[in-house]
Amino acid sequence: MAMPFPFSAIVGQDEMKTALLLAAIDPSIGGVLVFGDRGTGKSTAVRALAALLPKMRVVVGCPYGCDPANPGAFCDSCKEKAAEGDLKTRQVPVPVIDLPLGATEDRVVGALDLELALTKGEKAFEPGLLARAHRGFLYIDEVNLLEDHLVDLLLDVAASGENVVEREGLSVRHPARFVLVGSGNPEEGELRPQLLDRFGLSVEVKTPTDLPTRIDVIRRRDTYEHDPAAFVEHWKRRDGKLRSRLTAAHKRLGDVSVPDKALERAAELCMALGTDGLRGELTLMRAARALAAFEGDAEVGDKHLRQVAPPALRHRLRRNPLDDSGSSVRVGRALEELFGA
């Protein structure tokens, strides 16, 4: 995929695009789950995001891509380099790493370096996918088909922010903080509630039903496939604009104020919906703040809460199998009661 489909060229699917952008502005929102119909460009959007994100600065030669601006979180080798005053840095694209379904545990957490072991008899650690995803995104397509033991492992690392490998005298700890992006089709099966709750935002994508939009989608895809380079060139300006907005939002994030009023509103909303735990409130607040930063607003207000409430809360409602209305509808109702139509 040398030339991914440009992010700005994706037709519609605004909720999905916004959720991905918010997670990029504030990774602490905790990942995005994209669930929905087939052929709605879920994977396309994630690949496009990788090409859109501004570059990040890393320590040269660090397998984990440590952030030179954050010495507190250095891995062992970067600590050594820093002590010797030998820290070079460079810019690299933010990693968006695929976790393929058939991946073995060894490849995910890292393992013995086969090459060195077989040729020189040396014991060295070869970082896995978790190391490569550090400071970036880990993308799992068909996340509902992922094997249980891998799911458990991922949840564990995502919660602790570090990966620990202990094997026959090989003992490695390295930072692994990433935004988990999962996509799937609910018809293939439901997602375990523990996993569902781990995701900060959850987006439902539907196939567009109006003819002009549908034609637009296919036409753009066709143009892109015919000549990817020309197509990417054509959308370059728009992607560039979006990139600048992302960079600015990221910078502004700390300055966005969250008034007490907004906190109250968020708490009321979660109470009205009966969401479990404080995680919902926290995510709601963070997502609203990231949105405010993205839109250049100085403080979080009702309009931000309204827009991010469905993706932040819809997957945290207690399931009521006999209430036929979907969770999105329930969130919408609660919003109307609280915030007025």
Partner: protein
């Protein structure tokens, strides 16, 4: 010009699809061939083989091919011999530029399908296994051999969505099997022109409109149809897509995917005694249309008509009955994570690191594979020096190397609800059954159960929900359940037995829950008449018992009915009078019963 060979449109279209597929295999995704093994299928594969370039690979994937065979992995023998990691190319990488043929695709597991789909979409095989990380570009098309017999037995939907052609050869006869009139040279020439063929806005709109009118949701369908039209134009030596190309694409790509018939009356108006229409005559050849007639119609209508005329008769009948064919369960329902991995029983589905506690089964090959790279290190650690050319005395295996096989238990259950929707209390009972189904599904990640629902009333039994684990799908299927009419019990029991049989053939254990008062009044032939109806019902019940399915009959009448009890006895089903069962009570009763009933088979 369109390459119609024989008089028979099925075979002619199948050959045409093969030719279009050969023009641009990766862009068109491929074809699903629904047919039992036999001369028709072989002839089609042979035709495709002859149209592809000589050097194009055609790789067959057996149903039980391991993931490492499909994706590639560490070649253990070569690795040990060479003393450095040697990767083994998988089937998907080896199929670059050609075709992958999937045997028994209707039984393909979802996660295997997901690998295939990921490689199809990305045009490369991504491998993260055994300490190897490889990306191998590979662009291939897929032929899914679908030997499914019933409506529910289909290849996984995610795969079907990406294959342009869904061909059903079951209607073709031996004398139809004429060779293709398209030559490999023509295909090669068309392949070179394919990407330059122009597609006008009007043409694209016609395909999108047609797809919508036929109720086809996925955008991949019109996208694939557009590519099929381009391939057809290229084959005909044109440089832009014209009406005939669009008609062909609509006929081959869109018609088999139809989920509704355009301008269909509101299904609400259907009488309860609706009969399936007579099977239609095979569609006329559309491109022989009177040109003048076609001229004064908008393109949209022309293309829609072409597609509509080509909807396969069997599908047409189903659509007319208001059945949504696309709500079928896919083969291995549910998610891998929802299945409790059994320790030692069932089909092996892979290995994982683990201890040999609690009766796990060691996978020797995978264990050796894990131990291989450590050998030099362990020898060094022990101070053993290996002289050049000498073999080490033994392979050292440590606990960390242990790999245990993970198995899928064959005892996944599928609970089939068979609900009496006749008469006055129907709506109430249906609502309860619906609630119970959803409750059972709501905790499906705790119980590895699939649920299906058959409702019977009037003269027929209708499969409203094929076996599924998906709450989403269930809710959609259960949204509008009709009620009222006669009680065709025999038909219902037969339908339940047929579905249970197909569940069983998938390696799951069916358990059937009947909700009825047991008072049959429609005989098996659809004629009213209580005595004949009851006789038929008892006969069906006995046949049901012979199949040895475990079953529960929930008597839903206000007072327990001797007839219902007798019927349960004949079926060897547990009799459970529950006059006031609500959804909650019902689902609990079913759970209690189905977990305590030993399967007779």
């Amino acid at each position: 010009m369109s390459e119609r060979s024989a008089e028979d449109p099925i075979w002619g279209d199948a050959l045409l699809a093969a030719a279009l597929f050969a023009v641009a295999p990766a862009q068109l995704g491929g074809a699903a061939i629904r047919s039992l093994a036999g001369p028709g299928r072989d002839a089609w594969l042979e035709a495709l083989r002859a149209l592809l370039p000589d050097e194009a690979p055609m790789r067959r994937v057996p149903l039980h091919a391991s993931e490492s065979r499909i994706l590639g992995g560490l070649d253990l023998t070569a690795t040990l011999r060479a003393g450095r990691p040697v990767a083994e190319r998988g089937i998907l990488a080896a199929a670059d530029g050609g075709v992958v043929v999937l045997a028994m695709a209707e039984r393909m597991e979802l996660n295997k399908a997901a690998h295939l789909v990921a490689a199809l979409d990305a045009g490369e095989v991504v491998l993260e296994r055994d300490g190897l990380a490889l990306r191998t570009p590979s662009r291939f098309g897929v032929v899914a051999l679908d030997e499914g017999l019933s409506q529910e037995e289909r290849p996984p939907a995610a795969l079907m969505d990406r294959l342009a052609f869904h061909i059903d050869l079951s209607g073709a006869t031996l004398r139809d099997l004429e060779p293709s009139v398209v030559t490999a040279e023509e295909v090669t020439a068309a392949a070179a022109r394919f990407s330059a063929v122009a597609l006008s806005d009007e043409a694209l709109q016609a395909l999108c409109t047609t797809a919508m009118a036929l109720g086809i949701g996925s955008l991949r369908a019109p996208m694939l149809a557009a590519r099929a039209a381009k391939a057809h134009a290229a084959l005909c030596g044109e440089d832009s897509v014209g009406e005939v190309d669009l008609q062909t694409a609509a006929r081959l790509v869109l018609a088999p995917r139809a989920t509704m018939i355009p301008q269909m009356e509101d299904p609400e108006d259907e009488s309860t005694e609706e009969q399936p229409p007579e099977p239609q005559e095979p569609p006329e050849e559309t491109e022989q249309k009177d040109e003048s007639e076609a001229k004064d119609k908008p393109l949209d209508d022309v293309i829609l008509e072409a597609a509509q005329a080509a909807i396969p008769p069997g599908l047409l009948a189903m659509l007319k009955m208001g059945l949504d064919r696309h709500n079928r369960g896919s083969s291995a329902g549910g998610k891998a994570g929802a299945q409790k991995q059994s320790k030692t029983r069932g089909r092996p589905i892979g290995t994982r690191q683990g201890d040999l506690r609690d009766g796990m089964r060691l996978n020797v090959v995978e264990t050796l594979r894990a131990a291989a790279p450590w050998q030099p290190i362990r020898r060094t650690a022990r101070g053993e020096v290996l002289e050049p050319g000498k073999r080490p005395a033994r392979v050292e295996v440590r606990r960390d190397d242990f790999r245990i096989s993970r198995h899928k238990e064959r005892s996944e259950t599928a609970t089939i609800f068979v609900v009496d929707a006749s008469g006055s209390a129907a709506l109430h009972r249906l609502a309860e059954a619906k609630g119970a189904v959803e409750l059972l599904l709501a905790d499906c990640y705790v119980r590895r159960d699939q649920v299906a629902l058959i409702a019977f009333r009037g003269r027929e039994a209708e499969l409203l929900l094929p076996p599924t684990r998906s709450l989403t799908r269930a809710k959609r299927s259960l949204a509008g359940l009709p009620g009222g009419g006669g009680t065709p019990l025999a038909t219902a029991i037969d339908a339940a037995a047929a579905l249970a049989d197909s569940v069983k053939r998938k390696g799951q254990t069916p358990s059937i829950v009947f909700l009825t008062d047991g008072r049959a009044n429609i005989a098996r032939d659809g004629e009213p008449g209580r005595s004949q109806a009851e006789e038929d019902a008892l006969a069906s019940a006995r046949a049901f018992r012979l199949a040895g399915f475990r079953a529960v009959l929930v008597d839903t009448s206000p007072r327990p009915q001797p007839k219902a009890e007798k019927l349960a006895g004949e079926m060897a089903a547990i009799y459970l009078p529950l006059p006031y069962a609500d959804a909650e009570g019902l689902s609990q009763a079913v759970r209690a019963v189905s977990s305590n009933v030993p399967a007779a088979a």
